[in-house]
């Protein structure tokens, strides 16, 4: 990286708004996807849209790639600075700018942590519906970029269903505002394609999000099953019966061991799997719906169905679920969280396959996932100091995802393509499909200077790399 660019950035932002020391940069060499690492040349911390614009223009003037970063919890390597360059960390843009309950929207800066918004709305009886398990850490900017889901997006919809508008700093430094708090603006739904574009269309500096009233009542049930198959059959039958729970999550026996050791909820450690089944809404009729769910679970050989009787119990159950990944550390020194989707009726099949693949590669795999959406999260346990194990983890992940594709699913339900799954794009999509996507990216990011080598397999071909590109940590 050239000294003049660094000087310009320092002049623009001030000395305490950039990191250049190798030891500081190390933190930014990867995100939640740790298999590939590369440090950026500099990390900058703008505090306003104007500063983001200035940084982007400087990068353009010097022909240096740049990429946005939120909390760095991406599990797909979305924040990997391929080719080095300038990393634009948005964590200092963390203001909730406006909340309007009558018009049911809020405007937030990108660095606002997902849960902060919900906590802010809570006293008024409202919340922000998309609730990724990482919601205590991840940012709304990151959620917008990855179109995040969460346990309750089964009923309420994922991020894109809650984003009304975006202020975007385009890769050439122009600022555009799409959509807004009123619905149905004439013209193309640019907001809809900006969500989920994984930072390749520009940097979201402001987001208009829909806010949602809290349900009046919940029924939170824990179905305990002898086998994974009984649990997955229950899921298919619930969906088939036209029941749309607010959340429907599965944990298998291996993950239960870890979660129980961490949180002492009182999970039955001899169970094959448990389902967290929640319905919410108005009190009237909710009891009946819970009874229907219990009946279907029992019919599918649930050993028992427990109810969370108090708010505290319900919250603890959700804490166990949402922090399950964190508890995995008790099982193995390293783990790789996969993200795939299958049609919901194929869940029994894919879980069998995961087990078979685990045996084949001699790996332990545990499962905790958004079952109601068919969105699986097999967690492959290993020790990254053992190169052979790491290789087997990659091969097994690959095989699981291939099977998802084969049964009509997808290789990612919410974590994104990032760098991790870029090779799968040509398995899911034809050259013509990808051609259209590339053309769309060209409308936003013609020089591919913003988040190069992400999402589309052809990306990264024409960037001027200031460093060796992708470096695997194998």
């Amino acid at each position: 990286m050239t000294a003049p660019l660094l000087k310009r950035l320092r002049d623009l932002l001030g000395p305490d708004a950039l990191l250049t020391a190798p030891s500081d940069l190390l933190v930014y060499e990867c995100d939640g996807f740790t298999i590939e690492k590369n440090t950026p040349d500099v990390v900058v911390f703008p505090t306003s849209t104007e500063q983001v614009v200035a940084v982007v223009k400087a990068c353009n003037d010097f022909g240096v790639p740049f990429l946005p970063r939120g909390a760095g919890t991406s599990l797909a390597g979305g924040c990997l600075p391929v080719g080095g360059g300038v990393m634009i960390a948005l964590t200092r843009m963390k203001r909730i700018l406006e909340v309007n309950y009558r018009e049911r929207y809020a405007v937030v800066e990108p660095g606002v942590v997902n849960l902060w918004l919900t906590n802010h709305l809570k006293p008024h009886g409202w919340h922000y519906a998309p609730d990724p398990s990482s919601q205590g850490a991840c940012t709304i900017g990151g959620n917008v970029a990855t179109n995040s889901g969460g346990p309750h997006t089964l009923k309420y919809g994922v991020t894109v269903n809650h984003v009304l508008g975006v202020e975007l700093v385009l890769p050439d430094g122009r600022v555009v505002r799409t959509g807004g708090p009123a619905e149905d603006n004439p013209g193309y739904d640019l907001t809809g394609v900006i969500v989920g574009s994984e930072g390749t269309f520009g940097i979201a500096t402001k987001t208009w999000v829909r806010i949602t009233r809290n349900p009046e009542a919940y029924r939170t049930l824990l179905g305990v099953f002898e086998t994974v198959a009984d649990a997955t059959n229950t899921i298919s039958e619930l969906i088939g019966a036209g029941i749309v729970p607010a959340a429907l999550e599965m944990l298998d026996s291996l993950i239960l061991q870890a979660v129980e050791a961490a949180f002492h909820f009182g999970f039955p450690l001899d169970a094959g799997a448990v389902l967290i089944m929640e319905v919410d809404g108005l009190e009237a009729g909710l009891g009946d719906e819970a009874e229907r769910i219990i009946a279907i679970a029992k019919k599918n050989k649930a050993r028992e169905v427990r109810r969370a009787n108090t708010d505290a119990e319900r919250l603890l159950l959700w804490k166990c679920r949402k922090q399950a990944f964190g508890a995995v550390g008790r099982l193995a020194p390293s783990y790789c969280t996969q993200d795939g989707v299958v049609p919901r009726t194929k869940l029994p099949h894919i879980l069998n396959e995961i087990q078979r693949i685990g045996t084949k590669y001699q790996l332990r795999i545990c499962n905790v996932f958004h079952a109601g959406d068919g969105n699986i999260h097999p967690i492959l346990l290993f020790d990254e100091r053992d190169a052979d194990q790491t290789k087997r983890v990659l091969a097994a992940s690959h095989e699981i995802l291939e099977e998802c594709v084969r049964v009509g699913g997808s290789v990612t339900g919410e974590h994104g393509i990032g760098v991790e799954k870029i090779d799968f794009m040509s398995k899911l999509f034809t050259p013509e499909d990808l051609g259209v996507m590339l053309r769309l990216r060209n409308a936003f990011n013609p020089n591919n200077r913003c988040s190069p080598a992400k999402m589309l397999p052809t990306a990264g071909a024409c960037i001027e790399a200031s460093k060796a590109g992708r470096r695997a940590a194998l």
């Binding site: 009558r102 018009e103 179109n147 889901g149 919809g157 994922v158 894109v160 269903n161 555009v176 708090p181 009123a182 619905e183 149905d184 603006n185 004439p186 013209g187 193309y188 739904d189 640019l190 809809g192 394609v193 969500v195 989920g196 574009s197 969906i239 088939g240 036209g242 029941i243 749309v244 108005l282 009237a284 009729g285 009946d288 989707v341 049609p343 919901r344 958004h370 959406d373 009509g408 699913g409 997808s410 990612t412 339900g413 919410e414 974590h415 393509i417 799968f424 794009m425 899911l428 999509f429 034809t430 013509e432 499909d433 259209v436 996507m437 053309r439 769309l440 060209n442 409308a443 936003f444």
Partner: protein, 416 residues
């Protein structure tokens, strides 16, 4: 209209081709590209007068031959169909499985799924169930080069690739011809109810605010003025009480939940503001539901506009529109900030312009806009059919420039 020729906004005649397969559609697009012809896709022709007149000669492509059901795994609650299927036919397929696509489309016997997507149709139920963008999980278009290009997939949650589904919805066919769609579905509701409230105009704002705070969760919140009620009662005598303003609050859910909400709403409503109150539960609500879905496409209108606003601004806009001398028939999806206004034969171009000059600033002040759904073709040259341009128009143009660089699809007709 002759099956072999088609006129759009008096432009034409355009020769019509009707592909029987997606392969044929691709050939047609490639052929048109070779001859540098424009392409005007259409389905049930229910909204063909939406937008500006064509600007280039070309061919019209009738998509009603593409009606195959590719896959309906009912237990996954998804369906993949070709885009020429009518909404009525789709509904018939889904009903035996107790499922539906909860989007209100007028003229469902004729309207095709592709057409509904291209124009992003929605109706009263959008308050509770959202719009088409919330249901399309996969889409295939035939692009400007005649290639099939898809985005999304067949599973309900999927973030692989750019979500082009969103872009094609409401693009009026300008970015490609929608050939196949995968939808996520909902269970049919066990029960429905409409609560009908009548009041004086000055009571509307407070009532809407009260409904916004209600403990109940309506799936629709419709507001009608006297002219709209009169139009209804000509078609269906006695379906609604004559009143200056009618508010209709709809519920769709489990039986017990609907019953509770109807009672709760009645208990919550501020005393003294209502002239009358009545509820219709179950199938007795059907005729009114149906009419609320159809009225946005009312054939009695010479001009129909659609305003989009912050929901809280609906009452004010509605009042201003109702006070205009035109005697507009007004229907608002009041929970979503959408107001539809119909003007009848008495309207002149000059008055139309004056009317929009009054309404547009109110709409834009409420962060929205106003577009013309329908008006005499000759007026389109001078009226702001697509509303007031917004600041992202240039980026929309850049997107079109990339995806349809020769402006092959519906040239001149859309905002972009």
């Amino acid at each position: 209209m002759d099956a072999n020729i088609c006129r759009i906004d008096d432009f034409g005649p355009l020769p019509v081709v009707q592909p029987a397969s997606v392969a044929e559609l691709s050939d047609i697009v490639r052929g048109a590209a070779l001859q540098d012809q424009a392409i005007y896709p259409y389905g049930g022709r229910t909204m063909l007068d939406h937008g500006l007149p064509p600007t280039r000669p070309g061919i019209a492509v009738d998509l009603r031959g593409l009606t195959q059901v590719i896959e309906y795994p009912a237990r996954d609650m998804t369906i993949t169909v070709q885009a020429g299927i009518t909404l009525a036919k789709l509904g018939e397929l889904l009903r035996p499985e107790n499922q539906r696509l909860p989007i209100d489309v007028p003229d469902a016997d004729r309207a095709t799924l592709g057409g509904a997507l291209a124009t992003n149709v929605s109706g009263p139920r959008r308050l509770g169930h959202g719009t088409l963008r919330d249901y399309v999980i996969g889409i295939t278009v035939v692009n400007d080069e005649g290639h099939e290009a898809k985005a999304g997939g067949r599973v309900v949650k999927n973030v692989a690739g750019y979500d082009l589904c969103k872009l094609y919805i409401g693009a009026l066919g300008t970015l490609g011809i929608i050939s196949q769609v995968t939808l996520k579905l909902r269970p049919l509701a066990d029960e429905q109810a409409l609560v009908i409230l009548t009041c004086e105009p000055h009571a509307v704002a407070a009532l809407l605010d009260a409904l916004h705070r209600s403990r109940t969760r309506p799936v629709c919140l419709e507001l009608l003025n006297d002219a709209a009620v009169a139009a209804l009662n000509v078609q269906h005598p006695g379906l609604l009480p004559d009143a200056p303003r009618v508010l209709i609050v709809g519920y769709e859910e489990k039986r017990e939940t609907v019953a509770w909400q109807v009672q709760q709403l009645i208990a919550e409503l501020p005393a003294g503001t209502l002239k009358s109150l009545e509820s219709r539960v179950g199938s007795t609500a059907d005729p009114l539901w149906q009419w609320l879905v159809e009225f946005p496409a009312w054939s009695g209108a010479l001009l129909t506009f659609k305003a989009n606003l912050l929901p809280g601004a609906t009452a004010e806009f509605f009042a201003k529109a109702a006070d205009l001398p035109e005697g507009l028939a007004l229907q608002a999806h009041a929970g979503s900030g959408i107001v539809l206004g119909h003007a009848t034969d008495a309207l002149t171009l000059e008055r139309a312009r004056a009317m929009l000059a009054v309404l547009e600033p109110i709409a834009t002040a409420a962060q929205g806009n106003i577009v013309l759904r329908r008006c005499p073709t000759a007026w389109k040259a001078t009226l702001p059919v697509w509303g007031k341009p917004r600041e992202d128009l240039w980026l929309m143009r850049a997107v079109r420039q990339q995806l349809d660089p020769k402006e092959r699809f519906n040239p001149g007709r859309f905002l972009v």
